[in-house]
Symmetry: C2
Subunit: 198 residues, 2 copies
């Protein structure tokens, strides 16, 4: 069954992401990936010269999806606090639909050698952080958020919440709603950051 290179590449990347979730990123072999796609192991090397470049393509795909979700989140809302909520919800949603994402951050593929892959993920986290900082600053200017907390610090608190919830969700056999619990705790944190008007 012959397919176009673009289509095949996409299939392979999708299979890697799926396998990474199910068996762990470090267990994803070229053989297992090829079997999941339904081609021979050697066929993979027609589309990617090495396994490392395959992982880079995976990172690109993930980065693209994340950027798209962020844009959509910002396009749909306008108040700074609503935008923060939308961004956080988008992030949690992406983790749910790509559960391998947190594991990728700590896999051997990423952490040893493969400096490009590592830089790609770091850049992603920094861009998300920057979006949150911008909205926090707008919220302060609008008088809705406490001025005594620097936007950069508050952003670290919020992004850490995403990561903490993701770890909790991964380790405890995903037995709660990541989005539900995450948004509930986000509300708690946002209440603390909000100017009290009582």
């Amino acid at each position: 069954m012959r397919k176009s290179a673009e289509l095949r590449k996409a299939e392979i990347v999708a299979a890697v992401l799926d396998l990474a979730d199910r068996i762990g990123p470090d267990r994803v072999t070229t053989g297992a990936t090829a079997a999941a796609v339904g081609v021979s192991q050697a066929a993979l090397f027609r589309h990617f010269p090495t396994k490392d470049t395959l992982w880079l393509a995976v990172a690109d795909q993930v980065a693209g999806e994340l950027a798209m979700e962020w844009e959509r989140a910002l396009a749909g809302t306008d108040g700074p606090i609503d935008r923060i909520k939308a961004l956080m919800a988008a992030q949690l949603g992406q983790i749910v639909s790509t559960p391998a994402l947190p594991m990728l951050l700590f896999s051997r593929e990423l952490n040893v050698g493969n400096e490009d892959l590592r830089a790609a993920f770091r850049g992603l986290l920094m861009r998300f952080q920057a979006l949150i900082v911008a909205e926090l600053a707008r919220g302060q200017d609008a008088g809705r958020l406490r001025r005594e907390v620097a936007p950069e610090d508050a952003a670290v608190l919020l992004t850490s919440l995403v990561q903490g919830m993701a770890i909790r969700w991964s380790l405890g056999a995903r037995n709660f709603s990541l989005i539900g619990e995450g948004m509930r705790l986000l509300d708690v944190q946002l209440r603390l950051l909000t100017v009290n008007e009582d």
Copy 2:
């Protein structure tokens, strides 16, 4: 060079932890470990029947050290807020002295098969969480912490902070002081949680 089994076991466990720090948990091979200890690779199997049981021994060691640090942190302070700070500092300190710790949570050794190891680490995180919850509750009873935030929720915010900072520290080339930045942001968060006496 012949040594007692107990001593050798301890040496081997220490070598695994050191190697895990330096090259990543999944790169730790029996050969590399043996070389670090200064014995033949086969010698390892005199002391541990399989590599998995070796990792379990490592987990035991780490769990013991963590529990010891928590106890020391609690013994040295008495106010609830100081105790929270001491616990968080102890946790950050352990990550600095065992940088493989966050990676271990997502390593292949832990996540596939080896359910015992996974349960051991999950139990550790839950016990830390419980210690924080207890101190938060004491802080509320003493009238020092806002009552409108449940201690369980606040504890998630605090432990997430540890994990978020650890990720940041791992991905960035460890180019900031994990303890310094972590404790600074902890202060920010604690100020938000503290009853305002102005």
